[in-house]
Symmetry: C3
């Protein structure tokens, strides 16, 4: 069973998608795969929203826009100052996540939420493929 | 088949779990999933222990404690100076690992070991869900 | 079904392997697993080659060779200045990738390519295990 989840984003940051994932009955494995190279999937704490904004702030500091002096070595700049940094963040963070399914529920820990992490500034329509495979 | 592996940690660093993973007979895929947002799973060289301590040192340098001057922009600090950096490291490093199973053995390379990477300072009891899915 | 893909590398950088991955008919999940601790697998933009060279340049800047003054804390240096940084990059970037299979094709986005990211300077022969698991 493969489905596609569509997430509309409106600027950089984390968008929680935990509640939007359909989980099949029984046991197995659910895999999410983001079909883009400028956003990511990430599992993070779902309690304090400051964790999510701090996380975005860290990555913005680690990978500044390409018009920042420290990034002057970048060549791929014609798609905007947030484009190449978005590709770099997409390499540093997961493109796919695999989560065990136990008795029809994601086996997430108590504080774990699933997020789409948008790295681009302009609004985007993001597709996440969801596939479930059978346990044995 | 889904199981839970429990790992008791006692401070930051890598804890090898390769030998504790039960592998089913036949071929397929084994997925490990850590049910926490302040530790990680990582595959690393299992020969020289300095690789593991150097790895921990690199991440400590890249993501210093939140009371370090370079991290003054962090907001989520009330759970201790090692908490938000632990969440950041948990985003930078894998939450899940999928390893092919060949004839009842993990298809690891000769120098690969599987580790739980603890990011918190205090002792923790960590749970890793292990699920195997059938090859086709 | 498990196979091994062999990739000959000749220095650091990204080597596209998308076209070399055999995809089974039907639906399911395909997982790639690199059997080494000094190279990675990564999904990146396959359009402009500058994205790939910029990506390699970023990681070279983030994790310089161990004879660079900023890396003087590293202990594991006897295998050459590019060895421990290669292990660090191998922790920061994926060892395994799971990609949904839809009707006998990888469900990659339009701009996504699959790459082996070599972190060592000398030529290497790299093995990637490929396993497919059945959808349900």
């Amino acid at each position: 069973m493969t489905r596609t989840l569509v997430i509309e984003t409106d600027g950089p940051g984390l968008y929680e998608i935990t509640g939007r994932i359909d989980v099949p009955p029984g046991d197995g494995l659910l895999t999410l795969f983001v079909r883009h190279t400028s956003c990511s999937l990430v599992i993070q704490e779902n309690a304090d929203p400051e964790v999510q904004s701090d996380l975005a702030a860290f990555f913005e500091t680690l990978v500044p826009p390409s018009d920042h002096p420290s990034m002057s070595y970048l060549q791929h700049t014609y798609e905007g100052p947030d484009d190449m940094p978005a590709h770099i963040k997409a390499a540093l963070l997961p493109t796919s996540l695999s989560i065990p399914v136990l008795d029809g529920r994601l086996a997430l820990g108590r504080w774990q939420g699933v997020y789409l992490f948008e790295h681009r500034r302009r609004p985007h329509r993001r597709e996440v493929a969801v596939v479930t495979t059978a346990g044995r």
